[in-house]
């Protein structure tokens, strides 16, 4: 590839390209590909990796849990103060662009095209990186996903945790 072509492609890279959505037919996650301005597609790739072992085993329940988590992530992002929002947005846009993906992961292979062990390897390399920027990227995404998943009462059954019911009983 000529250098000029590479730069043009990289800068024109859209979220769909980076995530490999052109090659991926998703009837699994509730995402409108044309209107994915909330990074749902990106998180739909990451959530099952972060929550492997925590998500329900039954496919339909798993799909619902992932979708609830994606909704919750979207809501959490909307609550962030401007500085944190800007930082997160920058990270997510990098992960949705080919050049950013190359910088952050050493590969332009779209995330959606990567297998689970490869995604785990990517998260592990950030987690153990000597660069604070990579570690904070990992931790930021991890906290966002974990907090969003465990915020839903529907996801507490494995914890055997439930809030008290005395208030409901008093109504």
């Amino acid at each position: 590839m000529e250098r000029r072509t590479f730069i043009t492609t990289a800068l024109a890279g859209t979220a769909c390209l980076a995530l490999g959505v052109n090659y991926y037919s998703s009837d699994y996650v509730g995402v409108n590909k044309e209107l994915d301005d909330k990074h749902r597609l990106l998180f739909s790739v990451l959530v099952p990796v972060f929550l492997d072992g925590a998500l329900p085993d039954v496919a339909a329940l798993k799909r619902d849990a992932v979708n609830r988590t994606l909704d919750s992530i979207e809501h959490t992002i909307s609550l962030l103060p401007q500085d944190s929002f800007d930082e997160l947005e920058q990270l997510l846009e990098m992960l949705e662009g080919r050049l950013g993906l190359l910088i952050l992961t050493g590969s332009m292979t779209p995330l959606m095209m990567r297998k689970q062990p490869e995604l785990i390897e990517m998260l592990q390399s950030w987690r153990t990186s000597y660069m604070d920027m990579m570690v904070t990227a990992y931790q930021g995404l991890r906290e966002l996903v974990m907090a969003s998943y465990y915020s839903s009462p529907e996801h507490w059954s494995r914890l055997h945790y439930a809030k008290p019911t005395f208030l409901e009983n008093m109504k």
């Binding site: 959490t76 944190s84 931790q139 915020s151």
Partner: protein, 529 residues
């Protein structure tokens, strides 16, 4: 029968409350005293000043929420009641900070632990920080007054299993421990203090001093963020505020507040931020510097029996075995406590993801967590952090020093020793790379060699102090020992920002007692004036 909500009842009875987010036009409001912030300092000051017959306006950036809104779910409580939805972090993101943001401030969401200011801290302030008149003998009557006012008394019931482990470990090892005094009245022992008390048992500012002030005619303005102190020579002449939505995003309406006297009580991050943004005189460049946390380490322990750390009074036992062991300015000490265990808190403050994290979460009810709160601000290598302005707000730059990491290693070892003594099957220091440890012998060796570093070791804090210190020497302080500005006749500071160091104890009662003393003096001065 439903729980009565005293805020709803009060508002129905005609309390003066303005939700700035609902205003359509800018307004100017006047009173004898305007108080910025409605937490431990602002609430106590408001009650005392209105009792003295002064007119008071309380300005709060957060929302007015009350027991009807406290539904015992983290997903509701964190966005509604905490700064940055409980996601606030220091500049390098190495420390997570939990700070309240609603009417009542952090008192609406704290875990009710009430401790008088430790004598070694007061002695150090007198000796090294030019603080006068704040010995324990002088302060004790003020602590008694506030303990009486807020029903602060020793927790008379059995500690929950999480706290019991701390107690049993201390008993086995011969370590000091104390049964905690709590500001509760008719507590239901449910364990949801951190999400706002659903039954109004917690004697927070929301249900005590603020209602008392409103009964006496004070005005509460919520969702108004004070953005500028207008000043000229030695006088403050107005405060400018902006209406904000529930996420603190600015709305078009502005408010002006005018008063004879102004009190800053916005907490140890927002008070210095407001002073910096308003460019108050600061010839010795003190504002925002020496801001302190109690940087806190976490140690998880797996027990074979259910711990159910979400249930029951969240904190009822602490140990001061290691807080002052090396003298005030020696190696950093740490206080041992336990936190309540709820899903988001534990999921986000533990490590890893995927199968290993899921397995940890499956042990949720067998999990005991001990925390070590490191006492900062006394040792030469423990100068705390600095509040700095950013384009959109502030940041707290808080480098963790070698002295802190030495204390952290000792703290992890002490917590593991305690947890094994209490019967833990496994202990997991919450720091990257640490395995589950199966015995105290294994823990001792592994912890002595463990890697400790920012971002690798989980550090959190719920206590913010300093940044606008008190003292008689203007080279060391912004306000005198009564919280009165060195530079303005009509400005006082009444919150945790006036502490010259951290405390080595949970701060709410220190703020209540010292504010009661300082607000009483201010009320006398203003009445004469």
């Amino acid at each position: 029968m439903a729980i009565e909500d005293p805020i709803v009842t009060g508002l129905d009875s005609g309390w003066s409350h303005i939700n700035a987010a609902k205003l359509t036009e800018s307004q100017t409001l006047e009173a004898d005293v305007v108080i910025v912030g409605s937490g431990a300092g602002g609430g106590v000051a408001a009650e005392i000043l209105t009792e003295a017959g002064l007119s008071v306006i309380i300005v709060e950036g957060g929302q007015l929420k009350s027991s009807k809104d406290f539904v015992m779910e983290e997903r509701v409580a964190y966005p509604d009641l905490y700064q940055q939805a409980a996601g606030m972090k220091t500049t390098d993101k190495a420390i997570g900070i939990f700070q309240g943001r609603a009417v009542g401030g952090s008192t609406t969401v704290n875990w009710t632990t009430s401790i008088r200011t430790p004598e070694p801290a007061l002695d150090y302030w007198a000796q090294a920080k030019s603080v006068k008149g704040l010995s324990r003998i002088e302060l004790d009557p003020w602590f008694e007054k506030m303990e009486h006012r807020l029903n602060i008394s020793k927790w008379a019931y059995e500690p929950n299993r999480n706290n019991q482990a701390l107690k049993h470990g201390c008993e086995k090892l011969g370590w000091q421990y104390t049964v905690i005094k709590r500001n509760v009245l008719g507590c239901w022992n449910t364990g949801y203090c951190g999400m706002g008390c659903p039954v109004n048992a917690k004697q927070s500012m929301l249900v005590t001093t603020i209602p008392a002030a409103l009964e006496r005619g004070a005005t509460l303005v919520s969702q108004a963020q004070v953005i500028k102190i207008e000043h000229h020579n030695d006088k403050i002449f107005a405060l400018k505020a902006q209406a904000v939505d529930k996420n603190m995003k600015p709305l078009p309406v502005e408010l002006m507040f005018k008063a004879k006297h102004y009190i800053l009580a916005a907490g140890a991050i927002h008070t210095p931020t407001l002073m910096l943004r308003s460019q108050l005189p600061d010839p010795y460049e003190i504002i925002g510097k020496r801001t302190f946390l109690h940087p806190t380490l976490l140690s998880g322990a797996v027990f074979s029996d259910p711990v159910n750390g979400h249930s029951g009074a969240p904190q009822s036992i602490y140990s001061d075995e290691f807080v002052w062991q090396n003298g005030a300015d020696g190696e950093l000490g740490f206080k041992l406590e336990v936190p309540p265990i709820h899903p988001i808190l534990i999921a986000s403050k533990t490590l890893g993801y995927g199968q290993s994290h899921a397995q940890l979460m499956e042990k949720f009810n067998q999990l005991q967590v001990t925390i070590a709160l490191v006492r900062d601000g006394f040792h030469d290598n423990s100068q705390g952090g600095q509040v700095k302005l950013t384009d959109h707000g502030f940041t707290l730059d808080y480098p963790l020093t070698d002295a802190f990491w030495r204390a952290a290693r000792r703290a992890f070892a002490s917590m593991a020793e305690l947890q094994f003594a209490a019967g833990a099957k496994q202990v997991l220091p919450i720091s990257e790379g640490m395995p589950y440890l199966s015995s105290w012998n294994e823990a001792k060796k592994t912890i002595s060699e463990m890697d400790l570093a920012p971002l690798k070791t989980v550090v959190a804090s719920a206590h913010v102090m300093g940044g606008c210190p008190m003292g008689e020497d203007p080279k060391l302080s912004m306000v005198n020992s009564f919280g009165e500005s060195h530079y303005f006749d009509n400005l006082s500071v009444m919150d945790g920002s006036i502490f010259p160091t951290s405390l080595g104890a949970n701060p709410q009662l220190s703020i209540y007692g010292i504010t009661a003393r300082n607000a009483t003096r201010l009320a006398e001065k203003l009445k004469v004036g």
